[in-house]
């Protein structure tokens, strides 16, 4: 699945990394039950934030691009 832009609710607290609370995918709201992993990567001179999150049913990867101020979602690949 390619990264899709998402509507998302995120809590920003001083001194802490952003905390995704819920996101909408295919017109369905998914509540974030657990952020299972967090990492960063670089695309050019932009540092993007990645959150592996679970809604209790499936695992998703939410990506925040600060240069675009945009959030996207991807599902995880397991074979």
């Amino acid at each position: 699945m390619n990264a899709q832009p998402v509507r998302i609710a995120v809590v920003y607290e001083p001194g802490k990394k952003p905390k995704p609370v819920w996101f909408e995918l295919n017109r369905r709201q998914h509540k974030v039950i657990e952020t299972t992993y967090f990492w960063k990567d670089r695309l050019g001179d932009t540092t993007r934030l990645h959150f592996a999150v679970s809604d209790g049913e499936a695992l998703y990867e939410l990506i925040f691009d600060p240069s675009e101020q945009s959030w996207t979602v991807e599902s995880h690949r397991i074979e």
Binding site: T36, Y37, W39, G44, T46, L59, H76, R77, I78, E79
Partner: protein, 414 residues
């Protein structure tokens, strides 16, 4: 005040089944299950197996089918290198909070010289527990730590208890620990050396340490003395932080192709991509090289060749690297489809870019600089050669053993 070698306190930290542990942490469904992490698009070998999979005999380096033969329920997870490089870089940052003397050995192993940190933090064991706790709290994963008077023994100690171990070898315990330990447990003694030593009747570190030095030197040359010292647990090698590390001797990239390729057109596309990756990294760090090497592994997996050519001048522009690699390719008969390609630039020197006098050369240099500057800002391959535009996957998808969290060896993997 100078420190005697036996008074040094060195720590070796080894992340336990690193890639697999990260994936199990990121995906709770995988926890407690036999998993194997493989490279992108599933054509590479198993890079790490979880401890649950290791119980069935699944090992690093096995092909996926071999892993599944060992464990039918093995779950294959396509690795996400960016997770691992980020996690490793953060862990190295944790280590540097305790000492500036951190030598990164690979993405999941490092040595720390904490000799001069004990006054601040109390003891090496306390530092070890603090680092373990920091890693566990931040990433949920574990490591094994060895503490000893030198790097050789610290690594040996970290291997003694896995996962989540902490082993201390005190100076007065060295001979006792080594006496009956197999020589192949020592870092630097591989299976070939183990066989050579066995033929000499040497199987344990104790036997190696007691062996006549002249006998070892006759067999292994100047290394004979080193092997004897290893058997005695002597290693005076310093913990060398990355910024003091030896000069980089080469810049190279290789890739396992998404599918085997046999047409010249396809091979050249991958060679151009690899040349651009090598050139970009060489230019970023201001080095140029005279020797180009090409490495090819064929579809049967077992046959391969490597060939190199030394040029009359230093180069670091991607098209020049590409031309040199193609010249090597043209000297070889390609008898079967290709599975893996690699390009390396070596014989390096630091190189300050001067604008050439001749207009065509000058234009080309300015164009390369403009491309590099756009790609630095927006990401590798944002602006690239027209023939690469249709290529599905671009960039490095493998973490090389030489990867480091900083400097020229910090490759931004996909």
């Amino acid at each position: 005040m100078s420190i005697q070698p036996e008074q040094r306190v060195v720590m070796h930290i080894d992340m336990n089944a690193f890639f697999a542990s990260v994936e199990q942490q990121a995906n709770p469904e995988l926890r407690g299950k036999p998993i194997a992490v493989v490279g992108g698009h599933g054509r590479t070998v198993i890079t790490t197996a979880s401890y649950e999979a290791r119980k069935f005999g699944v090992k690093t380096g096995m092909a996926i089918w071999e892993g599944k033969r060992q464990c039918k329920d093995l779950i294959i997870v396509v690795g996400d290198n960016k997770k691992y490089t980020y996690t490793s870089s953060r862990i190295v940052e944790f280590m540097r909070e305790y000492t500036p003397l951190v030598e990164v050995f690979s993405i999941d192993e490092a040595w720390l010289d904490v000799t001069h940190s004990l006054g601040i933090f109390g003891s090496a064991e306390r530092i070890a527990y603090l680092i373990k706790a920091q890693i566990k709290a931040s990433f949920g994963i574990t490591c094994s730590i060895g503490i000893a008077p030198n790097k050789l023994l610290a690594k040996l100690a970290s291997d003694m208890k896995k996962p989540d171990g902490l082993t201390v070898i005190k100076p007065e315990e060295v001979s006792r620990v080594l006496e009956h330990m197999s020589v192949k447990e020592l870092c630097g003694i591989g299976s070939k050396m183990d066989r050579h030593l066995a033929l000499m009747g040497i199987r344990t570190c104790g036997e190696l340490g007691r062996c006549d030095e002249a006998r070892l030197t006759r067999k292994f040359g100047i290394l004979g003395k080193v092997y004897k010292q290893m058997g005695q647990g002597i290693d005076n090698g310093p913990v060398t932080p990355v910024e003091e590390d030896d000069e980089v001797k080469s810049v190279g990239h290789s890739m396992t192709l998404r599918r085997d390729v046999s047409t010249r057109e396809d091979i050249l596309k991958y060679l151009l991509q690899l040349s651009e990756m090598v050139g970009r990294r060489a230019r970023r760090y201001g080095v140029a090289g005279k020797t180009i090497s090409l490495y090819v592994r064929f579809a049967d997996y077992f046959s391969s060749f490597g060939k190199q050519d030394t040029l009359s001048s230093y180069i670091n522009q991607s098209d020049e690297i590409f031309k040199a690699a193609v010249n090597i390719l043209d000297t070889v008969e390609i008898t079967q489809p290709i599975r893996l390609l690699g390009v390396k630039l070596s014989n390096l020197q630091y190189h300050s870019q001067q604008l050439p006098l001749f207009p065509d050369e000058r234009r080309k240099t300015l164009m390369v600089q403009a491309m590099d500057s756009v790609n630095d800002k927006l990401g590798d391959f944002t602006v690239t050669f027209g023939s690469l535009l249709a290529t599905e996957e671009k960039g490095s998808h493998v973490i090389s053993p030489a990867w480091r969290p900083d400097g020229i060896r910090n490759v931004n993997v996909q």
